[in-house]
């Protein structure tokens, strides 16, 4: 019998070396030429936010005006740019009011415009919340509204000392006196009413639209907050809970009680936000909009639109997880159920956080196994049975989400991040394993998979790993080379040293 597979390993070693060399070259190139640091540096964090505006143009002249953020305590605008082919663009500033205005003579059909801004996070300026208070506008009330407003204001004032405590008490009153509150919010929004009442009490306040900055989020929307002034100083209030304070990842997108978007000549408009966090060297920030520097040799994900970038933040981490699986299986010899199931579970853990993820995993797989053992009594065909398990998993996830939400555990909602089809197959495999090899093997393989998943998770959430994988695309080639090298390892697995231990004991 002739050899059918080449035993010559040289071409493989050349390939591995080539990949290593190319990968390391690209990596060092980015480090040296583009000055991307090896380690993440939290002090020079830049939030890139992309607003995507979509609307249906009616074949008429279109005028579009979008509120855009300005410098503010905690955030400094580094650069902004737009992508809007065929549109005229102007930035209009009236005092603190900034808007981007697009216009075009004629547009038809679905239109998509992008506005992207890079905000530099500056922790030091976050403590001094200073701003220009707005004009106090007095609204006159009559009838039952007047009674309600006076009553609420009186109670709140009697229990407060300054504008901020006043605001908190007023929101608390609003929550306690639900009937009065309902009367008031019939015609105007809750936030507007609160501002009017604060103005009535002589306190400058306005509604601001804020955006919560979380790395890698897509399709986010703005959240209304109250901005209440005491002299030059201001504080933010959650209009629902009355909670005071601005978290460090909360950006004031619109702070002039204006609208987010004005559109003439179109309909069905929608604005959604994508957010990504980057670490950029300080030198580069002040190099004035280097973000625009798009070089052919700049092999980085940063040349893509933000929405795609956020997606790649996750995708580029997968090789790390895959390498963990390869090492655990080839070098260590851990048995897992489903080769790359652990990577997918680890990706889910990234979304859910570890503890929630583990609890969710055990709940879903546990209940799934019970349902599956019941199904096995009914002599079903395999495809139908797995489909039934998939539907069960979806029902389990839905029930857990509803239960968790009902119990006030927002964390519980995250179980939806689990890959359902994969979980169903896991349940099916474990169930068969249980029937054939007994519970022990299920725990060995299930535990092995979970251990590998947790390990992959721990590596994948490491900030240094995330930073390196996202910023140095050349590392993908290095990982490829490492995986190829593992695929060429003919030595013993760690588990085999134990398995074959009796062969070298004694004598």
């Amino acid at each position: 019998m002739s050899k059918t597979v080449s035993s010559n390993r040289v071409p493989l070693y050349i390939l591995v070396l080539g990949l290593l060399a190319t990968g390391l070259f690209l990596t060092f190139y980015r480090h040296i030429v583009f000055d991307v640091p090896w380690l993440p540096d939290a002090k020079r964090q830049i939030w890139s936010i992309e607003a995507k505006i979509e609307f249906e143009a009616l074949g008429q002249p279109v005028r579009l005006s979008l509120a855009v953020p300005d410098n503010q305590p905690g955030f400094e605008r580094v650069s902004e740019h737009t992508a809007s082919p065929g549109y005229g663009l102007a930035f209009v500033e009236e005092g603190v009011k900034r808007r981007a205005e697009w216009s075009v003579r004629e547009a038809n059909g679905r239109q998509t415009l992008y506005y992207q801004v890079d905000m530099l996070f500056d922790e030091s300026s976050f403590n001094k919340m200073l701003g220009t208070p707005p004009q106090i506008e007095t609204v006159t009330y009559s009838g039952p509204e007047e009674t309600a407003v006076t009553q609420l204001l009186q109670r709140a004032r009697s229990r407060s000392a300054d504008p901020f405590t006043m605001t908190r008490e007023l929101i608390a009153e609003f929550n306690n006196e639900s009937q009065v509150a309902q009367l008031l919010v019939q015609q105007k929004s809750r936030e507007r009413r609160l501002v009017e009442m604060l103005n009535l009490a002589g306190i400058p306040a306005r509604v601001v639209q804020t955006l919560f900055l979380e790395d890698g989020r897509r399709r986010q929307s703005l959240v209304s907050y109250l901005q209440v002034f005491s002299g030059d100083e201001y504080a933010l209030f959650n209009p629902q809970s009355g909670q005071q304070g601005q978290v460090t990842n909360q950006l004031l997108w619109e702070q002039n009680s204006g609208s987010l978007l004005d559109l003439v000549g179109g309909r069905d408009s929608r604005v959604s936000f994508s957010i990504i966090s980057q670490e950029v060297p300080a030198a580069r920030i002040y190099q004035e909009k280097v973000a625009h520097l798009k070089n052919a040799m700049d092999f980085s994900i940063h040349s893509l639109p933000l929405e795609e970038q956020t997606m790649f933040k996750g995708i580029l981490l997968i090789p790390v997880g895959v390498l963990v699986v390869v090492i655990m299986r080839i070098l260590v010899g851990i048995r897992t159920s489903g080769t790359f199931m652990p990577v997918l579970i680890a990706l889910a853990f990234i979304q859910t956080t570890l503890i929630t993820g583990l609890v969710g995993f055990f709940l879903i797989v546990g209940v799934g196994l019970i349902i599956r053992s019941y199904l096995s009594r009914h002599n079903l065909l395999l495809v139908a049975r797995i489909s039934a398990v998939i539907i069960s998993v979806i029902i389990i996830i839905a029930v857990f989400s509803i239960l968790a939400y009902g119990l006030g555990l927002a964390e519980g909602l995250k179980v939806t991040f689990f890959p359902m089809i994969i979980l169903s197959w896991t349940i099916e495999r474990m169930s068969i394993l249980w029937e054939e090899e007994g519970a022990k093997e299920v725990f060995v393989q299930g535990g092995g998979s979970l251990m590998v998943a947790v390990l992959a998770y721990l590596v994948m959430i490491n900030p240094v790993v995330r930073h390196l994988m996202f910023n140095f695309i050349g590392l993908q080639l290095v990982f490829m080379a490492l995986v190829l090298m593992c695929g060429n390892y003919t030595g013993y697995r760690l588990s085999e040293l134990r398995r074959f231990k009796p062969l070298v004991q004694g004598n």
Binding site: T4, V383, G491, Y492, E496, K501, P502, L503
Partner: protein, 328 residues
């Protein structure tokens, strides 16, 4: 130099390597992927194909009673097995002994498994449905069920088994048998003959067919745990015929690194049970010997295809003999 020597003598990794124990990675890269062409796998992964091939090449196999290849035919099982004293249902593409159902006898419409447990016709039909749906097949592919006649355990083995049929695993490399072991089922393996399920593995010397050493769950044993029979007494009858049958399996498949599972039927003699293109490594533990030195020796043979079966068997018997560690 000294460092290398220290490594070979004082680290477990080095001592295993010095003994020529083959690991999983080495087996996969050096032997399976090099000597077993992917295109030949279906011949061994599909037991029906193996059977037809064996019959073509004059290799004896257990009698085929029938095949069920679609859900619609499942109820026919009652008719197919009508009048047969006992039978065995196997998935054609099963692996590791999964999904094999052995029916010892049929009394009053009840089917008795080898452990005495009675099951009804619907249970058997469900089992066949599961086989057809691919529950036991590699990668969950749709499969079909083979119904074979039962094997009568040879008298020489009666004292060495509990319920199941003991089988002989021979590793055949480039047509040369290199290592072999008997697998004896016992109560703790629930009648199964797979070592990781608790069966007893008995290393067999290649020259005489005599037991060399026995292990259960990785630990050496000297007696069968259920029958208390001394394993040192175990000698495989018709040893040369068994080895010749194993060599013939290489000639008919062309797989360079092959695991051959043989049984000895009381009436029909050596029979081919199944072939395995990815045979396991526990055979080394049962023999207390590494596969690598024997594989390397066979690798030095130029043009192994020129040797007829008789010469190959003679070669293996003279080079791969081992001293027994058991008391007869």
């Amino acid at each position: 130099m000294n460092l290398l020597q220290y490594w070979r003598e004082h680290t477990r990794y080095g001592r295993l390597a010095a003994k020529g124990i083959m690991g999983m990675n080495c087996r996969n890269i050096r032997y399976i992927s090099r000597y077993n062409p992917r295109s030949l796998y279906p011949l061994v992964d599909d037991k029906l194909k193996t059977k037809h091939l064996a019959i073509e090449h004059g290799v004896n196999v257990p009698d085929l009673i029938g095949v069920i290849d679609n859900q619609h035919d499942v109820p026919k099982i009652a008719r197919i097995t009508n009048g047969v004293p006992g039978f065995c249902i196997k998935p054609a593409k099963g692996s590791g002994g999964k999904g094999i159902l052995v029916i010892d006898r049929v009394v009053d419409g009840l089917y008795y498994k080898t452990n005495g447990q009675a099951i009804a016709l619907p249970d058997i039909e469900r089992h066949i449905s599961n086989i057809l749906a691919g529950l036991f097949s590699l990668g969950g592919k749709t499969d079909f069920a083979l119904i074979e006649s039962l094997i009568k355990v040879d008298d020489a083995f009666l004292q060495f088994t509990h319920e199941g049929v003991p089988d002989l695993r021979v590793i055949v490399f480039r047509g040369f048998p290199v290592m072999s072991m008997m697998r004896l089922s016992c109560a703790s393996s629930k009648g199964k003959a797979n070592l990781h399920q608790g069966a007893v593995g008995v290393g067999i010397s290649m020259d005489t067919g005599r037991a060399v050493r026995a292990v259960q769950s990785g630990r050496p044993v000297s007696h069968h745990p259920d029958t208390k029979q001394s394993l040192g007494d175990l000698v495989v009858p018709q040893w040369i015929a068994m080895l010749e049958l194993a060599c013939a399996c290489y000639d008919m498949t062309g797989l360079g690194y092959l695991g051959v599972d043989l049984v000895l039927d009381k009436h029909r003699g050596p029979l081919l049970l199944e072939l395995n293109a990815r045979p396991g490594l526990s055979i080394q533990v049962a023999n207390d010997a590494g596969l690598l030195p024997r594989l390397r020796r066979v690798e030095t043979i130029k043009k192994p295809e020129k040797y007829p079966i008789v010469e190959r068997v003679a070669y293996s018997r003279s080079y791969f003999a081992a001293q027994s560690q058991l008391q007869p």
